[in-house]
Amino acid sequence: MRLQLAKPAEHPDIVRWPLDQALDDWTIEGLHRVVGLHRHVVRMVEVGQLSYVVKELPDHLAEREWRLLRELVEADLPTAEVVGVVTGRDDDADGLLITRHLDYSLPYRVMLSGRGLRIPYLGDRVLDALAGLLVRLHLAGFFWGDCSLSNTLFRRDADALSAYIIDVETGERHTSLSDGQRRLDLQIATENVAGDLLDLQMGGMLAEGIDPVETALAIESAYEGLWQELTGIDEFNADETFRVDKRLRRLHDLGFDAAELELVTTAGGTTLRLVPRVVEHGFHAQRLRALTGLQSGENQARRLLNDISRYGAVLEQRTGRKVNDSIAAARWLDDRFEPTIAAIPADLVAKLEPAELYHQVLEHRWFLSERAGGDVGMAETVASYVRDVLSLAPTEQVLHPTEP
């Protein structure tokens, strides 16, 4: 038997698991079955604050998925953290793939039931997140082959959701994808999502207001719109170079950055053709991390950066001096972010990620201020948010549909 671990020091308990036994026979503490029909035996194991997903599958598939997941992580694509792989077990037993369960992720069965979690425009958010994930994977030359809700986890990201690929069994990494490969992947995604949603509906577990077929079909236009925006070629007059900046801003708004811009002068020299080479997502998240050290989703970052800018303006007004972004961010962290998070009771603070908590507090403040017809202070907002929203919400740190 061979066990390969990506970061052994961070996962010391794994070596004590009965890795030589069939997964179906495991009886260790913290073990759960994962609901649903699976091609392979799948179990979740909770150890302290960490949750793992263990999947039993033939050695060659386990090795392949281990390699592909690591490639996705290295490419900074949103995926589950791959922890280890076990191969060469006795009696030709299948191998094991161990991934870390994504904290604060919302499995689609829980999320789309509309019970307990409050996510407005849920259907639209899900399809936007999934289309965004597919675009990011395709930009990186990754053909999924089985894009579905059941192979994806979602995390709150301010007013949106972020999607994470968690099953890459059918995936292939290429230098780039052909249009045909992208179209096929999109077709598979549309069909699978329709199946996932119809299944939930037939099981009486789909929130009202979500039409399975229409939602699934809309993935295609969401995908095409984003793909076109990110990769489409612009042509403009030679004296309209401001449009380069405009295009860059649009890319940044979508959370992407351009590693390279190719400007080609067309015959006659009267027009320019702009070909962006988009590579990166997380423009705002990276900026927030650089300024404050905070980890966040892209939309959370955009929201928090706006709050930092607003706070910078307040500081400028107070001091009468120009305040640069780094100083505004440092002061914002000390004066606004940390006191807000510290004001949330310790037994409730882990229910959501800090960036999401802060975003929700800002949302709540806006709601209270609108209702009051004037600004409501942060202390009053936090108290109301804790009492009326957070204390009633489920803990999302480890939320998964399991059977004991």
Partner: protein, 383 residues
């Protein structure tokens, strides 16, 4: 139903790598054609070009009489099977088969009729109202197949569809796919690296190497009459014994070939089918013998010392040493082992009592002896 024709089909990547230098192949209407070859032989590239997932860089791809090189995947009306075989636990079998039609907004009556037809075909009529959780593993696989065939495409493409299944389910599903394809009569192209899958499923099997077609023939023809050393050694498990030999003599009635210290005389029909050897007296050749051609009825005998015995239940594999070097197919030709001896495997009746160290007389079926040119690796047949 459709015919697929590839005329000098080529795939060259931007970095200059030529995955498929030029392939000519026709898949007949209703035929089950398997593309097989080792990893990197270009079989998946060919399938992806047919599916419209890879751009074609040269040649023509025709579906019936239409050139489809520039058609998108959907315009080709081809179904890639088993991209996903997830079943939905809250849906009945009927819903699991029908839901993709719902997505295409198919008329309800049409949908009902098609589901009934597919269920009948797949012997699922009795379980249409059940949920997947109440089905056996084999029935679940058939429901997954139902999802693919309800589309009624012109052609099915299958890229290693069984590789994710465990051994038992793989054998079961292999048989299900073969049976179903024959009942449906839909033209099918199936890609695998597994020669057992290829031989058991295909009407014809196309063996590829480095993007080039080595041979396309029925499984029996591939096995009994390989065109070259590569096909001879790739098809069959255990693989064909291939040893360096020499044409010693030839007259009107017989041809004598030496293999190490042994001599084999081919007479009558056995000599006729290798008459090309007559013009090669004195020249070295590669002699190929399948393990089972050494274990049954035969007209010649070979003396061996037993080195190893493997009891497989249905056959007994006996390994012995012959004092002549082994010959292998390599890229661009043939390689003769530097080792002066080689191991020959014979497949015997499992009831036979054989142990290591025994001196054994094997009977050789001379009608099943193959000969290959040592320069080109091509089979030597009738001259």
């Amino acid at each position: 139903m459709s015919t697929l024709t590839m005329v000098n089909l080529q795939k060259r990547y931007a970095n200059g790598f030529e995955a498929v230098p030029g392939l000519d192949l026709e898949i007949h209407d209703g035929e089950f054609l398997v593309l097989v070859g080792p990893s990197g032989c270009g079989k998946s590239t060919v399938l992806r070009m047919v599916a419209g997932l890879e751009d074609i860089t040269g040649g023509d791809l025709m579906i019936d009489d239409k050139r489809v090189n520039d058609f998108g995947p959907q315009q080709r009306d081809i179904a890639m099977v088993f991209q996903s075989y997830a079943l939905y636990p809250n849906m009945t079998v009927a819903d699991n088969i029908a839901f993709a039609m719902r997505l295409r907004k198919t008329d309800k009556e049409v949908m009902k009729k098609k589901v009934a037809e597919v269920a009948e075909l797949l012997e699922l009529t009795a379980v249409l109202d059940r949920k997947p959780g109440q089905l056996s593993g084999g029935q679940r696989q058939r429901v997954a197949m139902g999802r693919a065939i309800v589309r009624e495409p012109k052609m099915f493409l299958m890229d290693e569809p069984l590789s994710n299944l465990d051994a038992k389910l793989r054998v079961q599903t292999r048989a299900e796919i073969s049976k179903l394809q024959r009942r449906l009569g839909v033209t099918t192209m199936y890609v695998t690296h597994d020669q057992v899958e290829a031989m058991t499923m295909g009407d014809r099997v196309a063996v590829l190497r480095k993007g080039m077609l080595m041979q396309c023939a029925s499984p029996a023809e591939l096995y009994e009459s390989p065109d070259n050393l590569f096909v001879a050694q790739f098809i069959g498990s255990p693989s064909m014994n291939v040893i360096r030999g020499q044409v010693l003599s030839a007259d009107d009635g017989s041809i004598t070939v030496s293999v190490g210290q042994q001599q084999v005389t081919l007479e009558g029909a056995a000599a006729d089918r290798l008459s090309g050897l007559r013009s090669m007296v004195g020249r070295p050749i590669a002699v190929g013998i399948r393990p089972e051609a050494l274990g049954g009825d035969g007209t010649a005998t070979v003396e061996v010392d037993v080195d190893l015995v493997e009891m497989l239940g249905s056959e007994l594999l006996v390994h012995s040493t012959v004092n002549a070097p082994a010959v292998y197919s390599i890229e661009g030709g043939v390689e003769i082992s530097e080792h002066p001896d080689s191991t020959v495997v014979a497949s015997l009746d499992p009831r036979k009592r054989v142990k290591i160290g025994d001196r054994l007389t094997l009977t050789l079926d001379t009608l099943r002896v193959h000969a290959f040119d040592l320069d080109t690796g091509n089979a030597i047949g009738r001259g």
